[in-house]
Symmetry: D3
Subunit: 248 residues, 6 copies
């Protein structure tokens, strides 16, 4: 159910039965010693697409570069400034709203996107509120982080305990290895579990977390666990999506 693989008349047909669309959004940034730079985009995409199959909803192209300025001290990391990402989300939603889409369900793969994407929703709503009358009444946007599904949190806790951490986690690495088995790279972490803590800008981040991980041991990851996490989150998200779409 990928928008990319439809013709325009197929999208017209879809719109006669649903105005909802799934919008995967990830990031392109370092994920520790053995995690892929595309981890967050890969996770958002694989979850978003599986969810689309499950609920028979269209899935828009993945926003692969998100807000990741705090990772810029590690090679390969990319960011959009928050103001740029707000404009991207606004234009993508406005384009689809023109065709009749009304419910935009963002499946997010990166914690650093949450603030900016939430601000983008407000920017969209504010244009309607402050402007000359809403042109697309009833637009609703929702953001869901795949790793905050209850089933995922339970599974992560049981499997990885306090080695889950909050960046370059074994859970997200597992999910990317499930999606890209050729990317499995086991590697002894030193220290085994990375430090936790706060950070300000990119230079500060690198000082605090020299190999990029926060609080995690991604060497515990496995493709099998990735498959289970995917199933867990898609189940939860499918219920959430169906519930949301069913409301007036």
């Amino acid at each position: 159910m990928l928008l990319h693989l439809q013709t325009w008349s197929e999208v017209e047909a879809y719109l006669r039965r649903s105005t909802g669309i799934i919008m995967p959004i990830g990031s392109t940034e370092q994920h520790g010693p053995n995690g892929l730079i595309g981890t967050d985009a890969i996770c958002a995409e694989v979850v978003g697409r599986s969810l689309g199959e499950r609920v028979q909803a269209l899935v828009a192209p993945t926003i692969a570069v998100g807000m990741a300025q705090h990772h810029l001290a590690f090679a390969g990391s990319m960011t959009l400034r928050p103001s740029t990402l707000i404009a991207v989300v606004r234009d993508m939603v406005a384009s689809l709203a023109k065709h009749g889409f009304r419910r935009f369900y963002f499946v997010n793969g990166h914690g650093g996107n949450v603030a900016t994407v939430t601000a983008a929703f407000s920017e969209i709503y504010a244009e309607a509120s402050l402007g000359p009358g809403s042109n697309s009444p009833g637009i609703r946007c929702r953001l869901r982080n795949w790793w905050e599904s209850e089933a995922v949190k339970r599974l992560s806790r049981e499997t990885f305990g306090n080695a889950e951490g909050s960046h370059a986690t074994p859970s997200e690495v597992s999910l990317t290895w499930h999606a890209h088995p050729e990317a499995v790279r086991h590697m002894k972490m030193e220290p085994e579990i990375a430090p936790m803590g706060e950070f300000a800008d990119a230079a500060d981040y690198r000082r605090a977390f020299p190999d990029g991980r926060i609080g995690s041991n991604p060497d515990l990851a496995s493709p099998e666990m990735g498959a289970r996490l995917l199933e867990a989150t898609v189940g939860d998200l499918a219920r959430d999506y169906a519930d949301w779409m069913s409301r007036g």
Copy 2:
């Protein structure tokens, strides 16, 4: 310790002993049948100033209008678009950074500001990361919501239980009544406890919450409780501020 009540040479003297400054940020928006439109700005200001006294830190002028597009269907509510608020935070921080301030401690009075102010911090950091070398190395910004102090949450829970809700709460109304005793307005709420739920844009908010409250009974508020909440949050924030400033 208000910046507004200093001379420029007094600020120079302050900077020789500290590079920290407290930045209160609130909002101007409806707060239910008996809550003041200025509730969030009043709370941020009174907490920020009390904190400034406690930790002997300068306090910048309060940002009184925040991101409140979802309240625009109620008369008197004002918002800055997220993109505008980002620019405001960026310029205020850049101005003060020019003088040598490096630690910006935002005391927030409004949940709706969190995403945008967090995005603003990233915009500031991204300018340094992406630009021609940081002009103000070591800028750090922190956002703290006064109502999320542990002591406040405990007190609110014990006193108001499930009537606290999440907008036009008896806690924030109490705090404004403590600051403005002339504003005390008791009023029977109907229903006693407002509904909970989600919302998208301003029209949707008003449909879901017709008198503006979410999940709360603000008639339980009292000036006395406001005084206790103020003491509670300032105690927690003072420890947090001191701890943050003491780090390298």
Copy 3:
């Protein structure tokens, strides 16, 4: 009559009798050896609020940080870029226009704001002129500098003569001392009357006016004079506001 101290239903009631609102705008910037950094915001706020009482009009929250880039070489001074301040004024007016406000009476405390706020009015009007039809027909904005009231100019001239100058004037210092008696700080000025002249950017300003004053001797200020100046300007502005509101 502060917007901040109203409930939303009180604002609805107000709008049934008037569509006018007073918008105080000041600045946060150095005001010479003994003047407060908040001078311009304090003056705008105290004048705006007194005017609101006099004419029974609502008063919006004060814009405390204005356009003051030329003061940035003195510690504690803050500025919004003109483009940021334009966005702030635009969003505040648009928010209030949504509720039915139509006449925006800006009470200004800072000469450096005049150009940018005037440009902001044009930006607002241009959006209506160039866009898809005005959403808020009849919006009118007016800017008044409190110190340019005829009564104020007469009083300043009689009392301070050529020691009034144009920045850190005894008049504005008097007004802040009336509002904040605890801030009275007498101090021998050297030279007694500061130099006059032009300036370009902040560095140029500091070169030309090393202690921040332009052409003034603020040591002549007194709280009593502040009270008289307040009465003088409020009288003039009240007539101007009433006249403006009475026009078709």
Copy 4:
């Protein structure tokens, strides 16, 4: 001495003896029943170029479209939004500053430009103040309205008295007729002297001033008077320019 008619190596040679440049800025907007839409651009250009000859300074291309939103209810009027004009001025100054120009002398033909161009200067200065160190230290911008030269005001007062008004004045029409004798169009005005007054947006302007004039009788214009006004303003501006350039 038009920049347009130089080669790049001639500009290099000029920069070895002066870092000053004249920047004419006008507007494209209605000028009453017989005034040209290009009046303000023509005036700025003819004055700027004559001044350039007089003081042997380079003259940049005229900014022909300025800030004229209030004239948009009359056919042919054009405006840049203030935010656009600020960007134009900023980019033009930045381009020339790269080559070594440091003093930018704007000769203005339109009152409506004053606020926005003044704000643009502050935007330029603020980028230097707030950014990573000035890249072009010593940039100074000055704005002069040709019609506010003392000699011009004297001449206008003596010749046109209270028929000068403030828009579509006989003085500016005279100057355009001197520059474009083929454009002389005498026409009986009705009323002879247009009304004075205030205005808000473009619709309001047209209501108040139905034929576009404010307070003037442009039928009193003559090419001869245009020649005298040109001589008068160029004399005053030449002294002002020389004085400004001679300062440290």
Copy 5:
């Protein structure tokens, strides 16, 4: 050689041998009766990735939504405004430049992107030219349209002749069918060859080209031809990339 499938230390290693990176950019827009909405993104991605393998260069994540406002009258089409796309390209390049990348080779799948991406390059260069000294000296950007390789043009001409057209061409459809064999959808076109012509905005486009095609008969496409076209363009682009990277 996908950036997404590297770790950050692998990118560091890559940068020791090359500063070049391939940037695929496509579009998400209607492609006629049987063409996929993702045609241009698919083409840019498959070409960019094959090229990356051939020349052993890293490939950044594909920009999947480009500038396609003229297709917005067909369901499913998405666009970024030119100003948004400029910001996206600027931020992506700036992020990678921070790590040491200097040569950005954009492989483009959509004619509608050319103007905006070219403008984005100038925006990037202008920031360096106008700002306080280049932070990333030597940044060079190049844009290549895969379908304008000589070998591709020859092959298209020989195979499809005047049925190639300029939108929803049999060449691009062939390439997508090669990449997605499951998407092959033969369909009789009516008329067989679509009309040619010009267009302005989206409504005008749909009036002129009712089924979305311009001048083409995409039913002539085949996966086999897609494979040949891919080989043809990658051969040409590989030579061009190598030549470009070898220059000083």
Copy 6:
């Protein structure tokens, strides 16, 4: 038929017979050892005005500063950033559209403008497509480069052969000499024909083309040739304009 030399009521009369307007756009940038910095603005203006006479269409004021960042390493060159130029084009078109103009025929004098002006058209169309319904239905913009008229290309090829080159060409220099005979400056070029090649930013351009020319020998120019080129391009453009205006 210059807009500048009309009154507003004459423009009203014009709009009753035509909604088309000619928009000359040039540039202010180095043109080699003997070419004028204003070459592109002069060419666009003289061609645009001659075309206006020929087809009896109004001609807007010339945009004299375009997108020329790549020339900024040569003294006197000026640029607008692409984002600024997009805003300028957008505001000028929106202003005229308000009066009823619908067809905007840009006569371009500078290759470096093409991408940005084309992007500006898309920005204009996108505002209509994405916004709350078009406020000016039927706006159409067209860009024509005067030197790409068939007649001009033939004449240039016959006369200058491979000495035409692509910047500071004998053709454009001829046209400026025709318009400004006082500017004729013959000068032996060294080398006779400048090198061809590519360039990235301004520094790179100067390295590759040390005297500013690309592939040309402008010493072959003559005023007579300028007159013939003008006649050639105006003939072609007049047919193109008439044809375009005649379409539905």
